[in-house]
Symmetry: C2
DNA sequence: ATATTTGTTCACTTTGTTCTGAACGAATTA
DNA sequence: TAATTCGTTCAGAACAAAGTGAACAAATAT
């Protein structure tokens, strides 16, 4: 194997891993994806283990994560009983979808909690003494602002695919 | 202190911490911001320590991170020599800016590396034998696609503030 | 039937991050 | 001037996340 070529290959993969990690995804998942992305041929679990110098366990777990995200898919290779994988090379689609899904989940969780806080404040409003009533008003008002914003964000996310990602 | 009120208050802060953490920021930073966000009064380091049950060290480090992001600012309180802080309550501005800056840094790093890989391939192109020449072509083509995409993303990020964040 | 190959799962270790307590210097008060 | 109050820094403890090896079950080959 030409070592210059291999160096470039490996550096690309390393970079993908770093990026993946810094984006809150798994480093090995990023490396695996880059490996598949570059390869003209489908790749087996064992080859992943060999090329990335990782354990079979990691390869197994992470390739299935990629599968789950629609970033890789299993493919049948004639006369070979090992699982082979290829990348869906539409990086943009995959990355933006990851981002979108991740944001949506977080926002919706936060929204749920914020809604609960609002409910708590409303429900016990009558029990507050004057001092606390004033404070509760401040809280309500400010929390409402937050909820408004996050609703706005949710809408924005729903909008994203058609406007920006096609 | 009315305990219902306090519960709502604390739950809001807890939620902010969780969200902050899940977004790759620091949990305490999120809690601190939420604390300041709700408070009608400026808050001192010691009060943060007391209300969030954290160490002075954490409070100090994280409040300055918030300051650096423009999410909190120091304020002078008459007759008190402690530092007091208030939140900039424009959550949208702060959050979107964080997101933007974070993405920009990562993308630009990745871009640098990808550019280098392209250079490596080009530079050593002549030395490849036929087999590798073909492989190198595949790499180049695919990596170029990635670069195009990330350039697109960079542009999109530059565009963001005016279009979406007004 | 037995042996081998293959991918998955899980308990454990390793690695990296975050938080804290203690020590410190600067500023303020007595 | 000495004592106290503050905020910062830093080494190390506590914690969380990720990767590994070994055991396993399923499929295939001998």
């Amino acid at each position: 194997m030409n070592s210059e070529l291999e160096k470039a290959h490996d550096y690309f993969i390393e970079t993908a891993g770093r990026l993946s990690k810094s984006m809150g995804l798994n480093e090995i998942a990023g490396q695996l994806y880059a490996l598949l992305y570059l390869s003209p041929e489908p790749i087996s679990l064992n080859e992943m283990v060999g090329k990335l110098k990782i354990s079979k366990a990691s390869a197994s777990v992470n390739i299935r994560a990629l599968e789950g995200w629609g970033a890789a898919k299993k493919i049948w290779v004639k006369g070979n009983r090992r699982d082979h994988y290829i990348a869906d090379r539409d990086v943009w689609k995959i990355a933006s979808n990851r981002l979108k899904v991740g944001l949506e989940r977080r926002i919706s969780e936060a929204n749920g909690a914020v809604g609960q806080v609002e409910k708590m404040l409303k429900d016990s409003e009558k029990k507050f003494n004057d001092e606390n009533k004033k404070l509760a008003r401040t809280y309500m008002e400010r929390i409402k602002t937050v909820r408004k914003m996050s609703e706005r964000l949710e809408k924005l996310l729903k909008l994203l695919p058609t406007d920006l990602l096609e």
